[in-house]
């Protein structure tokens, strides 16, 4: 133990909580992916040195209180409308870094139109999309991304295609829009994925400086409360079932399409 004390010295620190995270205890359930993603965003903001230039748009969902944890300016959007807030914020303050942070209910269900159109306009923002296949905040109802057969409080016998339709791949849709420059699907269930995810988030923010369109980062996540599984088990279930339907990795990583391509159509 004396040994440990020797190691635990300021100069030996290789990892500690970024200062861009506040000291508030997060209200999330133990093991919730939201916490990990918050940390990554905070670290990226710290590394890029843009704490004084970043505006976050939080959603209605479990991450409604994101503003209590990441120490930047925030707007708490109405359910599903974060892309609208972000659009105006970025267009009015083009030199700031603007990102939205939304759950799957928020982004893909009630806010599907705002998501689609912000991406289609190629708003120069970063969109973070926490896909935990569930409405966490309201008590585990079905989300658009809930897998077939998954039990939720509104699909107590499992999601059924005839009744509820198909799990929606919003990220694939968004990738098909010329307005997006970078679309990727990440996760934070182990150390390697956490590192990859952070890189993706960083790239999403850096793209704003390049002004090349919308960066869209899905993070396939767990909601262990909604899934009614312990956190570790939830991660394993996610790897096995969610990744099959929501394949991980970049869907698109391109400079924005040349506007001339479009103008030629009408000439």
């Amino acid at each position: 133990m004396a040994d440990l004390e020797k190691i635990m010295k300021e100069e030996n620190i290789v990892y500690k909580k970024t200062k861009v995270l506040t000291d508030n205890v997060m209200h999330y359930c133990p093991g919730c992916s939201h916490g990990v993603v918050h940390k990554l965003i905070a670290e990226v903001i710290e590394e890029l040195g843009i704490q004084d230039k970043t505006i976050g748009i939080s959603p209605v969902g479990c991450s409604v209180f994101a503003y209590n944890y990441i120490d930047i300016d925030w707007q708490e959007a109405a359910h599903g409308r974060a892309p609208a807030n972000a659009t105006a914020t970025k267009r009015l303050m083009p030199d700031k870094f603007v990102f939205s942070y939304q759950g799957d209910g928020d982004l893909a269900s009630i806010g599907a139109a705002e998501t689609l159109h912000a991406c289609n306009r190629g708003e120069n923002i970063t969109m973070i999309f926490i896909n935990n296949a569930m409405y966490g905040m309201t008590g585990g109802q079905m989300a658009p991304t809930t897998l077939v057969g998954m039990k939720t409080s509104t699909t107590p016998y499992g999601r059924n295609i005839d009744l509820n339709g198909y799990p929606m791949k919003m990220t694939e849709i968004v990738a098909s829009l010329p307005g997006t420059c970078y679309v990727t699907r990440q996760s934070v269930h182990d150390a390697a994925s956490v590192k990859r995810c952070k890189k993706a988030i960083k790239k999403g923010f850096e793209n704003q400086a390049k002004k090349i369109g919308t960066s869209f980062i899905e993070i396939t996540s767990t909601c262990n409360s909604g899934w009614k599984m312990p956190p570790v088990e939830a991660n394993k279930w996610m790897e096995k079932h969610m990744f099959a339907y929501y394949p991980q990795g970049d869907l698109k990583d391109a400079e924005r399409d040349n506007p001339d391509d479009y103008i030629k159509y009408i000439k």
Binding site: C29, G136, G139
Partner: protein, 181 residues
């Protein structure tokens, strides 16, 4: 007869369902009842409480500031609800996890080692039934057979086989409750 009760503790301690069984037992005994829970966003953890009123007459307000009985299962609830017991009323608590014990002199304070006893009985889930038993010893507002009927009504069919164990726990609670010094 009107009995106004608050039951308060952590989420997950079975606070709400204990209130529900009590309320259902009241229904079985032909009483008027209301059950009103605290509610919040669905994140895990945090405190939970429920107000149960059992009465011979139509119940007016289901929400109260003062109670005949407070059943208290954690420290936060103690801090919040000790003061809400009517003078001469009852405060029943499980000392497990309680750091500041109740101190009022104008109320009747009882203890029941529910957590400990449930562990002894080999099933932590029946903790809340032990507490309920203790309460019913102090305030026999519903007969045990109506509690049984209440359990039958409130539990899904597939859990009916657990009713005897629950009754056992209630009886244990009746046995072990005692006045705090």
């Amino acid at each position: 007869m009107t009995e106004e009760i608050i039951i308060a503790g952590f989420g997950g301690q079975g606070v709400l369902s204990m209130g529900k069984i009590l309320a259902y037992s009241g229904v079985m005994q032909d009483k008027e009842v209301t059950w009103f829970p605290s509610y919040g966003p669905e994140m895990r953890g945090g405190t939970a409480n429920v107000t149960v009123i059992v009465s011979d007459d139509r119940i007016s307000s289901p929400i109260l500031n003062e109670y005949d009985t407070a059943i208290i299962l954690n420290q936060q609830s103690m801090d919040k609800f000790e003061k809400t017991v009517k003078p001469g009323g009852v405060l029943l608590y499980d000392p497990n996890g309680i750091t500041r014990h109740p101190s009022r002199k104008d109320i009747n304070i009882y203890k029941v080692e529910g957590v400990e006893e449930a562990a002894k009985m080999g099933n932590v889930k029946i903790f809340n039934m032990i507490i309920l038993g203790a309460y019913l010893k102090l305030k026999p507002i519903v007969k045990i057979e109506n509690v049984k009927k209440g359990l039958e009504k409130s539990l899904p069919e597939r859990h009916h086989k657990l009713i005897p164990l629950n009754i056992q726990a209630i009886e244990k609670g009746m046995e072990i409750v005692n006045k705090a010094s």
